[in-house]
Subunit: 980 residues, 2 copies
């Protein structure tokens, strides 16, 4: 909840953000894995190996090619294929290979090129043959002549093909060991040593105790010391030491995460694990050398997955403590280049914003956004300071002004504004507008005492003090604790509410000071639902819009606009859908992916809870505790013609073991004929017909040969069968939903993505919150049951959001939807500073617009991107906000005068780009594929803005057109461009 | 059973085997994966891709580094790391990558070298960025400006870093698709096409029906056709088509096995699968182009595992049927270079010969041995023919003689000898001896009528006809059917038994002809166990050895040797151990790895079954049906002083749901003081003390610093605790087991590896067969319950084997154990041909020795290897067979005169090698590490043979010494060297 939904963010235009996006510095780490022996230290010999049984659960050929993996996942071809590039990648990497039966199969399939590479790797010792027989023979059930023969077969091949002689016996898996193996198949073969595992458990215990796992094995009475062989017995097995050192593809062991730009950096922990494992083994060896057998049966199928980790262990364990400290201090240093842009980009992923991720992943997204927000906040603060600082500080060095923001303002937590202004101190409130038109809006900030507001000219402006409701205070303290881990020491007393006016692409500054008894505190009246109330309706709203509420039960009854003369009956109620558990007749549970209701249950307002009406000079509010877990504030502003509803929902109770999906329904008397409209990603509005699906027109009888493609367009429908009367008619809502009758259109805009529909004519519903108890079986493996924990106590998630309601005369709704919709998406940015005693306005820029003071973007155009790129170019993206035919005036061609948009800069060069700005528009047009389509003549008049004339620099925008430009200014210095 | 145990094979010396071992011809296949479009055919576009969610079940960074794999096995770093070498390996390989959030993380960690490589791959189009935003954004819950921003962030990076512009929209996983995505984020971005999956199921069904999965999507009312976008909707999902086309590491899909040298070649089947999948998809597209999306979530962690298969599909599907036929006919062509040597080498693996493999793997080993045997048999046949052919056929071309062998001779199946010899035809029996000393032995072959035998001089030699027992005939017909799939049409009537005498490293030839009434048919007498029998003992054996049997119950009672005057009581009985089920108080089941008996149960011979005594001129036999599933033949040869016991055991009944492990126990009255001896891999005999373990002597109190290593030698013991009184005293027996008392030693030799022990003083036991019903939990996951199936009816496995029993005066046993032990390991090779009417001996070489006629290897030396290598060298390995002190005379230094061993060849060069012949012995000695050992003075007199004087060419062999030589003959032609 504290982290706003991704799209609720301040658009950071070029004026503030010079280079938010930048490629992080190259983080290639050349791991130092040089081999070395240090006399007085414990030396760990890392032996990278695979143990490839020449037949066991699968046949030798099945193991080789990797068939029959259902029995055992194992493919020796993978091992041998992958080891080559892994060794080539770093000359310090070494690997031993044992079973020649597999190697020979592989060898004969290789190209000369690979063969030469292998020869080089063998020659350099990076690849080494150990044991070297065709298999790792048994030592109990085999005759010595067969042992000799199979070893000779392997050894001769290795000698002839590579001129190499294996030096080490390696009998790590046979189920016991014979004297003949030691003196004959090891010493007489000429091995330097024999290593084995599998030994009687009592023998092993005693040898560990006596540090006798390494012995000279004198196995022949007849040949005596002439056939001695150094023998090493592994202390536990032939696997990596305990402590999580398995690195096969998909293995569970913690990998070394040593990239400080990523989360979960863990070098110190893993180094500690490694050292602990080494010390544990050191206790049972005589010398200061121990071996880590890094591998086991059929491992290294992707050798790189092991070497990547082994390299890191060697590299980091060999460093001095000092370097490790550097790395572990990274968290406290706060250094990161993950930006808000990155975080936002990632959050657009189809398992992120949708909620189909696991909870810990959702937390990770929130963390990224929070970090990104925090990074951006610093940058914004610095940029604002730079823009307001005196001209005498060129380059924005040594700025004295600091601006802070309040990301938790939505829950009334804002330390910069919750300050004592008693001794003449003033709070500076800078309000920035990233849109290309002038905006008037209402700001609300929490204050601790009665306050008044002045503009930068020193005039007091209208303000309203609104006592903080208990519900708000509870929410605030609970969630500040939950998200920040602190308990706020101060509780603000009022919301200070005031109107601001901000120029396009610019800011204005306001000054808050304390006052005793002079503040305009709103009146608060509370009534309880009562059958006996005298007056049947209460009117709320001081301006043109009025809402009527029924005194009897506190419900909304009518929507009235005295200017447009719209008068409509309007009810608003809450209901929940019981989430299907999937265990009844319908096996499909409702969950993260699937909305599968099992019944609708209206929520009746509880009679004992009061309705509180707050009336003030700027706005009226209606506070309603619908039930213990739904709190709603409806707002009617004196100068706005839409109503705003702020809902706080949660924790949704699930004591009855039923998941619930909460909706609000707004019901009018409109005859909407199954039809409603929802936005497509906040852009187009798409017509929706209940129980029908708008789709394409089939020309079923025409030939279907490859020359003509069917067209799927926005117009035509085909009938389909609705099996889920509610879920089947639900649509995503990012911007809004509306419906029409003969004379009016009823629009609801949202501040976040929700689901919505019109299940009944004249009614719009929005799904505001979901809490479900069953996984819906589509992969996430968790129920959508989000909780927030404070001091170890967890409760279901509470969400707070807003929607906006307006009824217009038919044909007039689009202007509000488009203009206000854009403003919802790009809210004013509010930053705080303190006046440091002197005359702030005298030494700072208090209001500013990047655009010509006389200029504003047309009503039907939004500035959606203005971003300085690191190469000095500026990316400009302008969007026409209206579709063809959407509005009688505003659906026309729009014109943007760039010279007025950038009055103090000279555009040296302007190139129109494709949407994602990675190629010139002209190039796209040139190579655009022309498709023959069924039933289309190819002749259609489509409006598009003409190319920009570099001398005029006027951008034409046709309906729904978005145009992207790369602009090179002749000189570009955003630091100081003077007041507007 | 038909496949003999690995070590039961004929040693194939250089005389017969010129180049059994050879490296298979290079089988590198350059796959032709060139891209091409064929107009009139269905073109399948293989799109190798991975779908990497930017957070879902794991966080974005967890997915990147591959942590938290317990939640989901996924590591994008693996994907991006592994794709590089995979693409470099073949320029026809192509890969698309989508999510820039991951790519950017990876990119900044790369070295300049990798970066340059990636740039080249991008430039060539092998690697292609698709979609190109930071993530594959959602299309329902996101605002269009956020979609633009995140796409721009990715596209700008790609443009700046690589100068590249993504061409394709790829929204394959979002849960629905918006008009804005189509016209704005695809067409306006400049994409050529948009591909997506996830679409309403009714919509999908209709589109498939109407072939409208590919459409021109006109999504903007305002921009009309100017924002058309070609849109492809996947027909099923974004995964590979159905039919097993997943090739991630450890995936189950059948890989294309196209190496004809390996088993399970399946190119045709997999090509068929691919074509079927393509045709299925073709039915729902308009043009003759379809796309296979080869990949899915987080795949290509080891990219090569996919490309290896994709390459093969492209290669083989693009070929003409003709080539495929070639490959599929491979099985019938019988072509393979897998040799017996390879198969034997593989069978030495510690999960092969041990029986710890799964049953299907055991079958694979058997198949390999069978093929190897068959290959070797052909080679042996040809070599023998060459050696016997007239000198007039130089180079062994156009040989008229054919020699066959009988691998199933052990179950009396030998078609070459089961022939009608009635009309003067003669069966030629060639007997080859691969050892270096002359051998006299008894041969037995099945014949269909009374027959006699002549030697090559035309003299009739002693023979004996032995009627085939019913048990033998039943076993024969059942197992010929089981292993060869045929029912023998002829049933032989007799075993023809005759004595042969074969020179060292040579052969002799015998001629079998038919005779009526003149054959020496053995007498057969049968008696039933009876309390009333008059005579208490029956004596068996015509020579120095006699066995006495008790008439009352048919049991063996005494062993008598009239030469050595050994007279010993001897009983032989059968018992079984009940296999622990692991479900009682002991959780450990008896199984493949673990012998865990749960009680011993003696098997009492059933009284109703008869004992049959067969007496003949060469040997006597005692046939005993011990119980319905144990049949035993004891043999006493006139000219041998050991008894031979042939056991046929099985199917072991398990109707009582108890697994059984069958042992035979031979009990004498010897006072053996817990001590017995077992061989180590058929080489040394190791002293075993019951309930003790012979091990090393600890010098516990001496310093354990790294300078001195403890010695583990053959001498000393330390006490250990026996928790399993039977299993804990079991040892592997490959050659034999013996025990001693004050005056005698009792030896048992075996023809295969078995387990054995002496659980009671004076008693030796051998485990002959095991049938168990529970997996013992050590990995194989199957109970050791082997079955043989005939016509769909399966029964427990029947095994047939032999052991040999001898009692010698103390100090004399080793000679028999060593000499006869070597003969058991290297039995005479018997090959058959037919006399083609003429005088065969006149035109062929009938007897031959490679050695000087006057020469034989010393009794204490065995020739264990004589092998011609492909480089013209000959590998010679000689083994001293006795340990120090093992025999009063034979433990002395032995001398081998190479000049007499190779009388007609001149040794040009002789180099002593290490045991596995991959380096010179001198080099081994030079680099041999010298270890300081605890408690050893380092002065010890060890006998070793001196270096070979090239002028004398006498090889000295000290006790237990094996010496390996590489010999270069001045001229080497094995083809024809004249008669001996």
């Amino acid at each position: 909840m504290a982290i706003d939904h991704p799209h609720r963010r301040t658009r950071l235009s070029a004026l503030l953000l010079v280079a938010l996006w930048s490629l992080a510095e190259s983080k290639y780490i050349a791991y130092n894995t040089t081999q070395r022996i240090v006399a007085d230290k414990l030396n760990v010999h890392i032996v990278a190996h695979t143990h490839d049984d020449v037949g066991w659960l699968k046949t030798v050929d099945q193991y080789y090619v990797g068939s029959n993996n259902s029995i055992q996942g194992a493919c020796v071809q993978n091992v041998l294929d992958s080891i080559i590039p892994s060794l080539l990648a770093d000359k310090n990497r070494r690997f031993i290979y044992v079973e020649q039966a597999f190697f020979q199969r592989w060898w004969r399939q290789q190209s000369d090129e690979i063969k030469n590479t292998v020869k080089e790797l063998l020659s350099s010792g990076q690849l080494e043959f150990i044991n070297g027989g065709m298999c790792m023979h048994d030592e109990a059930a085999v005759h010595y002549i067969d042992m000799i023969d199979q070893t000779t077969l392997g050894h001769r091949f290795i000698k002839q093909e590579f001129g190499i002689i294996p030096r080490i016996g390696w009998q790590i898996d046979p189920f016991g060991h014979s004297a003949v193996q030691a003196y004959l198949l090891s010493a007489e073969v000429g091995f330097d040593a024999l290593y084995f595992f599998r030994i009687d458990y009592q023998d092993l215990a005693k040898r560990k105790d006596l540090k006798s796992l390494e012995v000279i094995w004198r196995a022949s009475k007849s040949l005596g010391l002439s056939a001695d062989i150094f023998t090493g017995i592994f202390p536990k097995n032939y696997e990596p030491p305990p402590g999580g050192f398995y690195f096969e593809v998909n293995d569970d062991s913690p990998v070394i995460q040593d990239d400080p730009l990523l989360f979960d950096y863990n070098v110190q922990e893993r180094v500690d694990d490694f050292v602990a494992a080494a010390l544990s083994q050191a206790n049972i060896t005589r010398a200061n050398h121990i071996m880590f057998t890094m591998g086991t049966d059929f491992k290294y199928q992707y050798a790189n997955s092991w070497f990547r980790q082994l390299d890191k262990f060697i590299h980091y364990v060999n460093k001095a403590a000092r370097q490790l400290e550097f790395f572990t201090e990274r968290n406290s240093s706060g250094y990161t280049t993950d930006s808000l842009a990155d975080a936002l980009a990632i959050a657009q992923h189809h398992d992120a914003v949708t909620g189909t991720e696991k909870q810990h992943v959702a937390n990770d997204y929130a963390k990224r956004l929070s970090i990104g927000y925090s990074e951006a906040e610093k940058l914004v603060g610095a940029s604002l300071a730079c823009l307001t600082e005196p001209i005498s500080r060129p380059g924005c060095y040594n700025m004295t002004t600091k601006f802070e923001q309040c990301p938790l303002l939505n829950i009334s937590y804002c330390p910069p504004s919750e300050v004592d202004l008693s001794r003449g101190k003033k709070l500076i409130v800078l309000v920035y507008n990233s849109l290309g038109w002038k905006r008037n809006d209402i700001i609300r900030i929490p204050v601790i005492s009665e306050s008044i507001v002045h503009d930068s000219d020193g005039n007091e402006i209208e303000s309203q003090l609104l006592p903080l409701a208990d519900a708000t205070i509870n929410l605030r303290s609970h969630h500040v604790k939950a998200y920040l881990g602190i308990s706020p020491s101060i509780t603000p007393k009022f919301w200070l509410i005031f109107a601001v006016s901000v120029p396009p692409l610019g800011f204005n500054t306001y000054f808050v000071s304390s006052t005793k008894g002079k503040g305009s505190v709103a009146s608060v009246s509370t009534f309880y639902s009562s059958e006996e109330s005298k007056k049947s309706n209460i009117e709320v709203g001081k301006g043109k819009l009025k809402l009527l509420y029924n005194v009897k039960d506190g419900t909304l009854t009518h929507y009235l606009n005295s200017r447009s003369l719209v008068k409509a009956s309007m009810e608003q109620t809450y209901s929940y859908y019981a989430g299907d558990s999937g265990s009844g007749s319908d096996p499909q549970a409702s969950g993260a992916y699937i909305f599968r209701p099992n019944g609708t249950f209206p929520i009746k307002p509880e009679k004992k809870t009061p309705t509180t009406i707050v009336r003030g000079s700027i706005l009226d509010e209606v506070h309603q505790q619908i039930n213990p877990w739904i709190y709603q504030v409806s707002r009617v502003y004196k100068d706005k013609e839409h109503a705003e509803v702020e809902f706080t929902v949660g924790p949704i109770p699930v004591d009855d073991e039923i998941g619930k999906e909460l909706v609000t329904k707004i019901t009018t008397g409109m005859a909407t004929n199954k039809t409603f409209y929802t936005d497509s990603n906040g852009r187009d509005f798409i017509k929706r017909v209940r129980d029908y699906r708008s789709d394409w027109e089939f020309q079923v009888n025409q030939p279907v040969a490859g020359n003509y493609y069917p067209v799927r367009d926005y117009r035509s429908d085909w009938e389909f069968q609705v099996n889920q009367p509610v879920a089947g008619n639900y649509y995503p809502i990012n911007l809004g939903i509306y419906m029409q009758d003969d004379s009016t259109e009823f629009s609801v805009l949202v501040d976040r993505s929700v689901g919505g529909s019109s299940i009944l004519d004249g009614q719009i519903e929005l799904m505001l919150h979901r809490r479900l108890l069953y996984d819906d079986g589509r992969g996430v493996g968790e129920a959508l049951n989000e909780t927030v924990c404070v001091d170890g106590e967890c409760a279901g998630l509470t969400v707070q959001g807003k929607f906006y309601v307006k009824i217009d005369p038919l044909g007039e709704g689009s202007r509000w939807r488009r203009t206000f919709g854009q403003e919802i998406y790009s809210p004013l940015l509010v930053a705080f500073s303190k006046e440091d005693g002197g005359n702030w306005t005298g030494s700072h820029t208090a209001n500013f617009s990047a655009m010509d003071p006389s200029y504003s973007l047309p009503d039907n155009v939004a500035l959606i991107t203005l971003q300085a790129l690191e190469d000095g170019n500026v990316l400009l993206r302008l969007a026409h906000l209206y579709e063809v035919g959407e509005h009688k005036d505003l659906s026309a061609m729009a014109y943007v005068e760039l010279k007025k948009m950038f009055p103090v800069r000279k555009i040296g060069n302007i190139i129109e780009m494709n949407l994602s700005a990675n190629q010139e528009k002209a190039a796209v047009e040139k190579k655009r594929l022309k498709w023959k389509t069924e039933g289309s003549s190819g002749v259609e008049t489509i409006a598009r803005g003409a190319p920009v004339d570099p001398s005029k620099l006027v951008v034409e925008l046709a309906p729904m057109e978005i145009r992207t430009f790369m602009i090179k200014f002749d000189y570009i210095t955003f630091a100081k461009i003077g007041d507007s």
